[in-house]
């Protein structure tokens, strides 16, 4: 096993997992909602990009930039008309509604696209690589990681430097007082979910180009996103990136020992973090 190579692969895989997790993290931070259909929404976005590519003959990146505003609309409508109704003091309704949503999306996709595995072809990009030090790094994973970093930087800018971001933080702190400022919580929640769906579209692009996906691929993506968030610690987007990287490294090392152990190795890393640092490795002070 080439240690450096495995390590690098793990770090770059972490970028993909951070992309899965960023949207989940954003939404939970603002409205304490964990969308159990998050993974399925990533798969939905992947199918949307695939459809745009095959229907319009577009380059995947272009297709993704068209899909992104469409997914924003999907997220906004979903939150405003469905999920907002389930929010309240009880944690059961949002959990069960999003669980039901997960099943609806998976089976809807199965009916629409059959259970066949798909891939978004990226042409030359799929095999292109770069020489970094002594190791060969795939261009695609590098792009994925770079996108993850860009997304996180962008989100942080939004949250800390804009008025919308102030409204996000205020709503997350105290939704009643936020409404005294003129913030309409239902709208803010919908915008947050819409934004999360745009990040999901980026994640879907790289997921689809990198590996095969099918309508039932959602739950596994949710689990990786969740593990990245927990390992990294709630409340910090850079923490989520770190969490994703650690998960990715655990998986690639597990796979290097025995390919059947890849996913299990990730779960074990998650459980270890849960055992020794239940609040994650880089938690935010306030929660």
């Amino acid at each position: 096993m080439n240690w450096l190579d495995t390590l690098l692969q793990g770090v770059l895989l972490g970028g993909l997992y951070a992309l899965f997790a960023a949207g989940l993290s954003l939404v939970f931070g603002i409205m304490r909602l964990v969308n159990l259909a998050h993974g399925d929404l990533i798969v939905l976005a992947a199918f949307l990009i695939l459809t745009l590519v095959s229907l319009l003959g577009l380059n995947p990146f272009l297709a993704a930039s068209i899909a992104a505003p469409l997914m924003f609309a999907v997220g906004w409508l979903l939150q405003y008309h469905l999920l907002n109704r389930s929010l309240g003091k009880d944690i059961l309704p949002p959990l069960l509604v999003t669980f039901g949503l997960s099943i609806v999306i998976q089976n809807g996709l199965l009916e629409g696209f059959t259970a066949d595995s798909r891939r978004i072809s990226a042409g030359a990009l799929e095999t292109a690589s770069l020489q970094l030090g002594g190791v060969n790094a795939g261009l695609m994973p590098l792009l994925t990681f770079a996108s993850a970093v860009l997304v996180i930087v962008g989100l942080n800018q939004l949250i800390y430097r804009t008025e919308l971001g102030r409204a996000f933080r205020a709503t997350s702190d105290d939704v009643v007082t936020a409404s005294l400022m003129g913030i309409r919580p239902n709208s803010i929640f919908a915008i947050a979910t819409g934004l999360a769906m745009m990040i999901v579209t980026v994640a879907a692009l790289y997921l689809g180009m990198r590996a095969n996906f099918d309508p039932t691929a959602g739950p596994a993506r949710l689990i990786y996103a969740f593990e990245a968030v927990i390992i990294g610690g709630l409340g910090s987007l850079w923490g989520t990136l770190a969490g994703g990287v650690i998960l990715g490294i655990a998986q690639t090392f597990g796979a290097a020992i025995n390919p059947e152990w890849q996913i299990l190795a990730g779960h074990i890393a998650f459980l270890l973090v849960l055992l020794f640092r239940p609040r994650g490795l880089f938690p935010r002070a306030v929660d």
């Binding site: 008025e163 102030r166 702190d173 007082t177 936020a178 409404s179 003129g182």
Partner: protein, 240 residues
Amino acid sequence: MASLIETCGLMAAYRDFQAVLGVDLHLEAGETIAVIGANGAGKSTLMRSIAGVIANKPDMVLHRGEPIGAMAASDVVRRGIALVPEGRKLFPSLTVEENLQIGRYGRRVAGPWTLDSIYSLFPVLMERRRNPATALSGGQQQMVAIGRALMSNPEVLLCDELSLGLAPVIIKDIYAAFSHIRAAGAAIVIVEQDIAQALKVADRVYCMMEGRITLTGRPAELDRADIHAAYFGADTHELA
């Protein structure tokens, strides 16, 4: 000519408890009125009802004659009615300046109150403007809370228990700012447990007990014994 704010038989609940049992009050432009009463009299519930935090029947709260009783808080503030909530309720994730800025989120109108004018009103906030708001002392936080409400340039400023938990010296400083706020044109409702302070600042006073108005009038016209009775209850033998 309709009052600026009028409540008609306002009934409101706090959790499971009927806290306001039929309150009629009115506020005219430029006035400062005080609502005094003991703990649990229903004063905060009254403020929250007017501000839209608590939903009531539409006709129970009128703004220039229009029913706003059922309106959500985010819409009430857009009409120019701003609440300084009990307990300050500053946003911990925002700095002092950001707390002030968020006050303008729903209602952005030209008016006397801007970041600069609020910093002149409360100079100590200027030095601390990049600190997290909850790192400030109680009195300073109260200033931020008032400033935050003023940023929307409201017609009506509702102040719920400004002096709660603050030292007398600080309370004096805060109330000293009131003359400037009045001068800038807002009508003010203050809710207070401190009777002396309330009588000093207000044009008219309402006294509440157990959800009802028990006394109203101008400070000069009110007798100490009457206030005492309206505040604590007519039959003081029962307290023994």
